[in-house]
Structure formats: structure tokens, C-alpha cells
Symmetry: C2
């Protein structure tokens, strides 16, 4: 199988969840059946929220570019990054390495194609909203991103999950945002913050939640197990 | 904090559990409070069991040495490997890099010092038994390793956990070995196979289980958070 490089640590829990989903995604009978990964678990990447919302922090772009170059040097054959907000800096990542970047935002937009009425409720960081990351990706699929009213509640939920894990209390802001979107007719909702991927089971009933992390998992499995030099996908 | 390199993928579940324990081990209020890791998740490292027990496989030593050199080149300041059996090849790992190797076997032996009567029940791979890895490490602490009778049952349990996770059924051989050791007077038992670290909660009541993975976690936290160049431990 072909090793995939992971720009990780944003946050560590989400990077662990990605690995857990990749283990579950392949029919392995022993260690060797699992996907090789090179993971740069770097929780010290400058805060995306501080840079994009508060305007107080430095840009994460140079750090992410250095991580990408290092993963390519280690032998990674593609890159993936389990953090939606950090995809704002995808240009710097692509510019730093020749291997393909498996773009979670583009992959997730494709996974939402055909949603009821072309409208998708967004469960994401206000930083993602501000960068219009998904609006641009949705355009290619005729989709419209619909956002919850309460940015503050969503942001508080992200910070609470980063600080203490995905508890009912930490996910309160997420649940409220999801409920409001459902009331507004958004049955299809995109979990577009990997902290929220940790709390998917806490979403209100009846919501058709599509998880950006699952779209990334599918792309990593497809890349890693693609036949190369005559080897079998799981060989 | 100082990044630690992980020689991982033996198996992937154990490498994920190490990360989970490291996240829980630090009092982080945000991503930046967590320990930076460079993880070579390489499930294709040649089987230690095939090489040491069946005599059919190639030696994992060259692959492990290459992983160590690569982690050092990436900027890791120390190395750790969440697989007890693979510590048989620690010499090749140490020889391939200048950064320190946090030796889980030596750390675990120290954690068992003072065990009742100096005897420790071993919950480990028959491959570890054959290499006398722990007998050598225990000697420095006046400890004696006591092994279960049924190697086959223990090995079957390791393979079942690698294949399908730590279910009650998969852990049957482990539970039986632990019960027999307890009947033989071994209250202190060392979980010295990281597949068994995934099943610690399935051990019989009354056993004082010491997990080799916990000894490694403590050493990684101590190394990563040690003050460097005037920075605060969690700075």
C-alpha cells in the first residue's frame, strides 16, 4: 500500500479519530492489512481561529508548508489534513510539495451533491464561514451553504471540545446550531469541523449528517490501496 | 515542547491507544498544550512473530532502523515504540539514530520493582518469552518473570485482537493466562504486549496489572515537557 502523510494535531483528538476510522475502514486480518501513515502530530501549529477571527495570531501557513515538505521527504505519496479550517491554507501546502493533497473541503462538497434543494446546513467554525471555503467548493456542485445564527455558541463548542473532549455539555452549542438549522429546513447538515466529528452521535435525531472526516477517510483508503506496480490493493 | 518520534503500526490499534493516553496525560486547555509527535505508522514492518517464533519471516531490524533514522531526520528529539516484542531489535534502532530511545521494556521493569516477592506474572507474546527480553531487564531490579503455561492460547489472543479488536472472545486466551498466573500467586502481572494493553479492563478482578504502555507514556510526557532553553514545560 502507498503511505499517506497526515498534517495532524489540529486537534490531536481529531487526528486520532481519523486513524480510528482508517483502521475500521479496511478489512485487515493482521497488522499488514492496514494503511501506512506518516503523521506529523503538531498541536503547536499556530491557531487558525486566532489568525482568521481574532486577527491576533501569526499565519499557520509557513508551519503547514514545512510539515508538507517534511512528509513528502519522508516518503508520503499523498497528503491529508483532518482540519477543515486549516484548508484555508491549502495553497501553501500544495506549493510546498509535489505529492497530491487530498482536499477534504472539495471531497466533502462532492459528497453533498444532490442534497435536498441544494442547500446544506453548515456545522463549522466561524473561521470557515469567514473564509468562504465551502461556498467556493459548493459552487461547483450547485450547492448553497446555510449557516446557523449563533457563531459564538458554535465557537464556544469547538473550544470546549478541544479543551475537554466531546461531552454533552461541550457539544451544547453544536446541538443548538444543528437544531436551528433543522427547523429552518436543513435536513442535510455538513459536519465541517473535525472537533464536531468527535460529537456526531450527539446531533439531534432526524438530521442527515455528512461528516467531512468520512469523505477524507474514503479518499485516503482509495489512494493507499490503489494498485501500484502490480501489487494487490491490500498486498 | 520537544517532539517525540513514534515507531508505530505494530499494531495500529496500539499506536492509537498510545496517542489517546498521551492526550489524556497532559492538562491541555487547547491544542497547543498537547505533545508533538512524529508517528511512522508502519503496519508493514515484517512480522515479529513470524521472524522469532515461526522462523519463516525476514528480520524487522532493517526496516525499524530506517524508521528510526527517518524520525530523527524529521526532527524527533527522542524515539518510542509501542510494541514490546519489537524491542528485541532495539539495538538496530539505537544504532540508526543519535537521539535517545525510550525503552519500554527497561521502563516497565523499573515500574515493577518491589513487586510481591519479586515475582511478576507475564502477559506477553511467546516471542517475548523466547527472546528473554524481560528476564534481562528484570535482573537489574531483582525481579523474576513468571510465565503462563499456555503459549498457544496467549498467541491466539494476540492474533485475534490484531484481527478484530479487544472483544471478550478475542481476549479469552489472555484472561485464562491471567487467571492461571493469579492462582499461582502472581498478583502483580505485567501487560507486556500492546495488544493486551487494549484489553486491560477485561483482566480478572484482583489482579494488580501494570501496563508497559503506561510506563512508556510517562517517559514520553517527561521527555516532551522537560524545560528546554528556558521554555516552560507546557509552553
Amino acid at each position: 500500500m502507498r503511505p499517506v502523510g497526515i498534517l495532524g494535531g489540529m486537534g490531536p483528538e481529531a487526528t486520532i479519530l481519523l486513524q480510528r476510522k482508517l483502521v475500521d475502514a479496511v478489512p485487515a486480518r493482521d497488522d499488514a492489512g492496514h494503511i501506512p501513515l506518516m503523521i506529523d502530530m503538531n498541536p503547536q501549529v499556530p491557531s487558525r481561529i486566532a489568525h482568521l477571527i481574532e486577527g491576533t495570531g501569526e499565519s499557520p501557513a509557513p508551519v503547514l508548508a514545512a510539515m508538507a515538505a517534511r512528509l513528502e521527504a519522508m516518503g508520503a505519496t499523498a497528503m491529508a489534513m483532518p482540519c477543515n479550517t486549516a484548508h484555508h491554507y491549502a495553497g501553501a501546502i500544495r506549493g510546498a510539495a509535489r505529492i497530491p493533497f487530498l482536499d477534504m473541503v472539495a471531497l466533502s462538497a462532492a459528497a453533498c451533491a444532490g442534497a435536498d434543494g441544494g442547500r446544506v446546513g453548515m456545522l463549522a467554525s466561524p473561521a470557515v464561514r469567514r473564509t468562504a471555503l465551502f461556498e467556493r467548493a459548493f459552487a461547483a456542485h450547485g450547492l448553497e451553504a446555510v449557516w446557523p445564527d449563533d457563531d459564538a455558541g458554535v465557537l464556544a463548542s469547538i473550544r470546549a471540545i478541544k479543551a475537554g473532549g466531546a461531552s454533552e455539555a461541550a457539544a451544547a452549542g453544536l446541538r443548538e446550531a444543528s437544531a436551528h438549522l433543522a427547523e429552518a429546513g436543513m435536513r442535510v447538515q455538513l459536519v465541517a469541523c473535525t472537533e464536531f466529528s468527535l460529537a456526531v452521535e450527539l446531533l439531534p435525531d432526524g438530521v442527515d449528517a455528512r461528516d467531512t472526516l468520512d469523505a477524507l477517510v474514503a479518499a485516503i483508503v482509495a489512494h493507499a490501496t490503489a494498485p501500484v506496480e502490480g501489487r494487490l490493493p491490500l498486498g
